[in-house]
Each structure stands twice: as C-alpha cells, then as structure tokens.
C-alpha cells in the first residue's frame, strides 16, 4: 500500500513569509508525528497527534509553529514569519496507534529553504 506522503518535496521561501507543509499518513494510522532534521543531525521531535488532538506539542520551538489535523488523517504544519534558522527537512511519520513502542513509518520529508 501507499506509504506516508509529504508535499511539497521542496519549498523555497523568503524570510518573513508564511508556509504550510502537508502530510498524508498511511490510511488507518491514528498516530502522527512531525520532526525537523537539520543537515548532519538526527530528527528533532516537534509534535505528536493521536487522532485529531495534539497529544504532545512540547517540541514546537516557539509560537510561530503550529500544526493541525482536523479530521484525524491529513496534517498540516504551519510556520509563520519564517526565519533563516527554520531551514531544514521537515519529516512526518505515522503509526497505527501510539503505544510508546510502536514502529513509526516516515515520509520522505519536505526540504524547506528560507532565503
């Protein structure tokens, strides 16, 4: 079946602009995670959804970052007033449910470049 998909694959924007990154999880997966990965580093946790609600948003760096999952499937990560330091690959992952021990299935990521 289809894996996790993310769009766009690449996004170039100017400092101060607003961007939206989309994640389509595997059908039926109730848990969805967002991570940010900078070059040469491991993924950094941002936010985790169980169904429609954000179960843990402790990784969001500041109030410019916001994520939604209104129908418990597709999720959108929104970044306001982008800064050059926001440049990174944004990864989305999903799993059937979150048990704390479950495998996460990752998408290919969206590469965000802020000029």
């Amino acid at each position: 079946g289809a894996g996790v998909s993310q769009t766009p694959s690449n996004k170039v924007t100017e400092k101060g602009k607003y961007v939206e990154l989309r994640c389509d999880p595997i059908s039926g997966h109730t848990a969805l995670y967002w991570y940010r990965q900078s070059l040469g580093q491991g993924p950094e946790f941002l936010i985790y959804f169980q169904g429609t609600g954000a179960a843990d948003d402790s990784g969001l760096p500041n109030d410019r970052f916001f994520a939604v999952r209104p129908e418990g499937s597709v999720s959108t990560l929104k970044i306001q007033r982008t800064e050059r330091g926001d440049s990174a690959v944004y990864l989305c992952a999903s799993s059937p449910r979150d048990t704390g021990l479950n495998e996460q299935f990752f998408g290919p990521g969206t590469r965000l470049t802020v000029l």
């Binding site: 580093q41 021990l101 495998e103 299935f105 990752f106």
Partner: protein, 109 residues
C-alpha cells in the same frame, strides 16, 4: 534531559569487514530504544525496537543489542548496499522521542 550519543560519526568498511556502531543514552525511564536506517534524501526506515537490557534482535546482517547504558548495532560481513546513516532513538516513559545524530556507514566493494 534525555540524551543520545552515537559513535563513530562516520565509518568506512571494506565489503565483508564486520564492525559495530554504538549508541549511548541517558533517559528518564526507558520505554524503548529504536534503530533506523536513513538513505540520502529519504526518511528513516525502521529496523529494530529493543525494550529491556539484555535483549537482542537480528535482521539479515544486522544485530542489535541493549544494555542499561548503551546499544550496539553489529554489522556482519557488510555489503555496499548496507551503506546508509544509522540512527538510534530512545522513547522515554513520558512519551518523548530523542534521536542521536547518526553514524554514516560506507561499505566499499
């Protein structure tokens, strides 16, 4: 604060030359330790979950082990297609996942 340190940062092996990758961790209550493989331009791909000290898991040429302070990923007789970045992550009882920065493995034919 949970921490994960992976070593070495990079490892170059000849095809067939076995070796090990290390993942040292400190976590406030370990729920699970995960190993992932990441190829350039792609998202991480799940390999193993280890739950408790003493546990071992194998998959083809890879074997993962876990102690109370570290985990090893042993690679036996690697092939060029094993070249990738290997990531280690811990999940705390509080639910948060923390990744290491990975070991980039290159296997030369």
């Amino acid at each position: 604060e949970d921490q994960v340190t992976q070593s070495p940062e990079a490892l170059r092996l000849q095809e067939g030359e076995s070796s090990s990758l290390n993942c040292s961790y400190t976590v406030s209550g370990l729920r699970g330790l995960f190993w992932y493989r990441q190829d350039p331009g792609k998202g991480p791909e799940f390999l193993f979950t280890l739950y408790s000290a003493g546990e071992e898991k194998e998959k083809e040429r890879l074997k993962a082990t876990l102690t109370k302070k570290e985990s090893f990923l042993h690679i036996t007789a690697p092939k060029p297609e094993d070249s990738a970045t290997y990531l280690c992550a811990v999940r705390s009882n509080a639910g948060k996942s923390t990744f290491g920065d990975g070991t980039t493995l290159t296997v030369k034919p």
